[in-house]
């Protein structure tokens, strides 16, 4: 098989403006991957499938990865102009002094959701090629193009990602939840998912569960709305 860099060059030659990015894998497995731009992903995927040399006809695995917003703390040397009162020959004098202080600055690196595809070729018996796409953020811009029209094996797997991660696949023929029930609201595989506190809707003999159920009921008194879905209700 061609190396990932060669495949990147082949894609760029065939699909103008593909915007493919090389993503190195630092681990010992060294399965480097290519990040596709969502706009050209379907064209690139079709090329990868139909090109006679590459012939990635078998999409083995599709999965999502959640990268939450990361707060990064950096220590920065900052120089301030400080006015100090100094004892001079004519009594006290104000003087401008430069002072260097170490400050901790925090900034939030926005997170994203990622879809990862593992491609193999049955015709040429090579692989894997890892391609990935990422969403703009984790909240409102979570659309990615669906690769189901190119590889049918993505059908259930993309539904699973939609269900568990909340990536919306544009162009998917039948995008519904796969494993959770209809009406379920959250996406359980996200890193910041909070389990509902009333899994046991009917209070049971367990003291802990009973206590949690009481707390839950008193919190939602009067609203008549439950957090999660309608199962059991």
């Amino acid at each position: 098989m061609k190396s990932v860099e060669q495949i990147k060059a082949a894609i760029e030659a065939a699909v103008p403006g593909a915007g493919v990015e090389f993503v190195p894998n630092p681990g010992p497995a060294a399965e480097h991957s290519l990040r596709l731009a969502p706009e050209s992903a379907v064209a690139v995927a079709t090329f990868l499938r139909d090109d006679a040399d590459l012939a990635f006809d078998f999409l083995s695995n599709v999965t999502g990865v959640d990268w939450p917003d990361k707060e990064i703390a950096e220590k920065v040397q900052v120089t301030h102009q400080v006015t100090k009162t100094v004892d001079g020959p004519q009594g006290k004098v104000d003087q401008q002094v430069e002072e260097t202080v170490e400050e901790t600055r925090k900034h939030v690196e926005p997170g994203c959701l990622e879809a990862v595809y593992h491609l193999y070729s049955i015709a040429k018996k090579h692989g894997p090629l890892v391609v990935r796409m990422k969403t703009a953020n984790r909240t409102d811009q979570v659309e990615l193009p669906s690769l189901t029209p190119v590889w049918r094996s993505a059908e259930f797997q993309e539904r699973e990602i939609f269900d568990l991660y909340g990536i919306v696949f544009r162009g998917h023929p039948d995008l519904r939840r796969l494993l959770m029930w209809e009406g379920f609201k959250d996406h359980p595989m996200r890193k910041d998912y909070v389990e509902p506190d009333d899994f046991e809707y009917e209070p049971t003999a367990h003291d802990q569960v009973l206590k949690r159920a009481h707390e839950h009921k008193s919190r939602e008194q009067g609203s008549g709305v439950r957090d999660q879905g309608t199962a059991g209700a």
Binding site: E31, N61, T63, P149, R152, F156, L178
Partner: protein, 390 residues
């Protein structure tokens, strides 16, 4: 028809299920087959629309056995997920162990000693034989032959499970493999017992085939039913005996040569028509090839350690990176995708379940067929719900 030939004739949407029009007489009958239908191998539902006996629409419904295995594994250490992989495809816990161990070994660049590799091959091929035997048994059971072929299969399966039990302590939930080797060594007595079981297997397959393969009812019910075209099978990610039943030569044991499969002589059986009968025949023939592998492995197994001395049991933290490891499990390609962030837990842990992905084409195979054949076609896919829903 090869894959290359059909490519030029492809039209848009060629890999979607065909649209079957009702004949216009009478009304459509909507049937929810499952989740407690005896033929669904567990809790699985198919929403069918029937025009008389003909299937017009089929939508599989998943999730009845969902417990978010992946989330649980991401909250536990690498080793703590090993017993949990037993519960994915609970018929073949040892191949699940191997797939997970293989992925972690790839992630951490961990070597496996020779003897452990042989033990893994022996256990995986025994697992394949008992899985194929019982899956054929279930298929024939669903055809209406209540019990008899299934009991023939279970009789043999019991001998193999006894071997598993005496080695690992458990018949089905084996929890046997470790990153860099295996948990306990095989004794000489166990190897002798295994040789004895393997020596009896060809006679079992012969007997099984004499009972079934040329049976008129089986041929009438299975041949030409549930045809899966090779180009759709490839495009839909179908793997394992189902893919080879459609005539696509792809066996991960031959392609990836993981473990030590390059040392053994075995053939990859291929089907011609891609119908239920071919998938049945694949399993029979694969059992015969597995017996060949077992005979070679049990003859050649060397002495030596079963754990790599450099393997880390405690404080196992792979370097940041990711890896995808896959094996040819009895049901198809079982893969594990792991991302490590350097911590003791996997950052991302993904199971590529062959059972779920093989069901992608269930609708394509069933449309236009009789409702009684849906049971057969579904049975020929060979799934375990623990792996479908995870």
């Amino acid at each position: 028809m090869t894959i290359a030939e059909t490519k030029s004739e492809r039209l848009e949407g060629w890999n979607r299920p065909p649209v079957i029009a009702p004949d216009g007489e009478g009304e459509l009958l909507e049937v929810a087959m499952g989740p407690h239908h005896p033929s669904t191998h567990g809790v699985f539902r198919m929403d069918l629309a029937l025009d008389g006996e003909r299937v017009i629409r089929l939508k599989p419904v998943f999730g009845y056995l969902h417990r978010n295995h992946e989330k649980i594994a991401e909250q536990a250490s690498y080793l703590a997920s090993m017993p949990y992989t037993d519960r994915l495809d609970y018929i073949c816990s040892l191949t699940n162990n191997w797939a997970y161990a293989l992925a972690v070994e790839k992630l951490a660049a961990q070597a496996v000693p020779e003897r452990a590799q042989y033990i893994r091959v022996i256990l995986a091929e025994l697992t394949r034989i008992q899985n194929h035997a019982s899956s054929i048994g279930f298929l024939i059971q669903e055809m209406g032959a209540s019990g008899t072929p299934l009991m023939y299969a279970f009789k043999e399966r019991e001998k193999i499970l006894d071997l598993f039990e005496s080695l690992t302590g458990s018949r089905m939930m084996c929890n046997y493999m470790r990153f860099g080797g295996c948990r306990v060594d095989t004794s000489a007595a166990w190897l002798d017992a295994a040789r004895k079981v393997v020596a009896g297997l060809p006679a079992f397959v012969d007997e099984f085939e004499a009972l079934l393969s040329s049976n008129e009812i089986l041929m009438a019910r299975c041949q030409g039913v549930g045809i899966l075209k090779p180009d759709l099978a490839v495009n839909a990610g179908v793997s394992g005996p189902m893919l080879r039943g459609s005539g696509v030569n792809y066996d991960i044991r031959k392609v990836d040569r993981y473990g030590i499969y390059d040392r053994f002589k075995f053939r990859v059986p291929l089907g011609d028509h891609g119908d239920v009968y071919d998938r049945y025949m694949m399993r029979i023939l694969e059992m015969r090839e597995s017996i060949r592998i077992l005979e070679q492995a049990l003859k050649e197994i060397p002495a030596g350690p079963i754990m790599d001395p450099k393997a880390k049991i405690r404080g196992f933290r792979p370097k940041p990176g990711e890896a995808y490891g896959r094996i040819e499990a009895p049901k198809g390609e079982l893969g594990f995708y792991l991302i490590s962030d350097g911590g003791p837990n996997p950052y991302r842990y993904r199971v590529r379940p062959p059972s779920l992905i093989n069901l992608t084409v269930l609708e394509d195979m069933c449309l236009g067929q009789n409702v009684a054949d849906v049971v057969l076609i579904f049975g020929s896919v060979d799934i375990v719900l623990g792996e479908v829903d995870r």
